[in-house]
């Protein structure tokens, strides 16, 4: 995958999120349409020791992060938007030793709220292990953790 400015900006943002670093998440692809992150398989995120399946919490974290970062694709600029709600449907069990990809895209952007949907898959995007739908709140410019953060990210790009 080529390094685009969008992808580089997304990777910088992701590397500032401690828990995402603990899960070793990386940006796989980012374009105007949507965001794809990858979370490597690790024994530390297992929820079922009998079959090595990943815990839903790690998948939810991947999808919350991917959906939140898809805002960069939808708006063309970063706005840190807190999650209002998030729903995950677990469609298949995850398989041990296979990395998980999260894909998300904005499907409606309003002045206050952004609607995002996505899915998580391992080997085949057409066979998702989970689907996610979330609503994210847009913050004003002066809110802590809001636009100031994206300005700082832009600054570190130069």
């Amino acid at each position: 995958m080529n390094e685009t400015p969008l992808k580089a900006q997304a990777q910088r943002f992701l590397s500032a999120l401690r828990h995402c670093q603990v899960l070793q998440m990386r940006v796989d692809a980012a374009d105007e349409k949507g965001m794809t992150l990858v979370m490597p398989y690790s024994p530390r995120i297992v929820g079922n020791p009998q079959n090595g399946a990943i815990h839903g919490g790690a998948i939810t974290t991947l999808m919350d992060t991917t959906c939140g970062m898809a805002i960069l694709c939808g708006l063309g600029a970063f706005e840190v938007c807190p999650t209002l709600d998030l729903r995950i449907d677990y469609l298949h069990s995850s398989i041990a030793d296979h990395d998980v990809y999260g894909y998300a895209e904005c499907f409606r952007v309003t002045r206050d709220v952004i609607f995002i949907r996505g899915s998580a898959y391992q080997d085949d995007p057409a066979r998702p292990i989970a689907q996610a739908v979330g609503t994210y709140m847009r913050l004003g410019k002066d809110i802590k953790g809001g636009l100031g953060f994206s300005q700082r990210l832009k600054g570190s790009a130069q």
Binding site: C20, G47, N48, G148
Partner: protein, 151 residues
């Protein structure tokens, strides 16, 4: 099916109110650092403040996904102990409403089993930090269970 040794461990954990050996079986539980204590007939879950769980470095705040994972895991453990399922409860879907930022401090959760059918249960989870009356998130989940064979 729940292996017999796990079942024995489960009963012992609940009997003694010491859930550590049970949590030690689940790697993700150790990753986020969930704890569980018995309060009479109820369970109280705690997620101690941990730098590794931070998702917003500026506030700083716990990653929303960790809060969700903590609540989902709380619900699963709650069902493991109270639903008397013959198999380990399997998550079907999970829906969370974030009400306030989860700040960098200890987080607590309590579960309520609203409906237990033969194959599916509905459980709701509430998470809070300083004040139980001011939850940081509410969630509900469906789990697939397996009815114990009639005695």
């Amino acid at each position: 099916m729940i292996p017999l040794d796990v079942l024995a461990q489960l009963r012992e954990a609940h009997g003694q109110g010491n859930y550590e050996p049970l949590l030690a079986l689940i790697p993700y539980a150790g990753l986020i650092g969930i704890e569980c204590t018995r309060e009479g007939d109820d369970l109280l879950f705690r997620l101690p403040a941990n730098q590794d769980n931070i998702g917003n470095p500026l506030l700083p705040a716990i990653h929303g996904g960790v809060i969700a994972g903590f609540m989902e895991l709380s619900a699963a453990l709650y069902l493991l102990i109270f639903s008397e399922s013959a198999a380990i409860p399997k998550i079907i879907d999970f829906s969370i409403d974030y009400l306030r930022a989860g700040l960098y401090r200890d987080t607590y959760a309590r579960c309520q089993l609203w409906r237990q059918g033969r194959r599916v249960t509905n459980v709701s989870i509430t998470a809070w930090q300083a004040d139980p009356a001011q939850p940081i998130a509410t969630a509900r989940a469906h789990f697939k269970i397996k009815e114990l064979p009639a005695p």
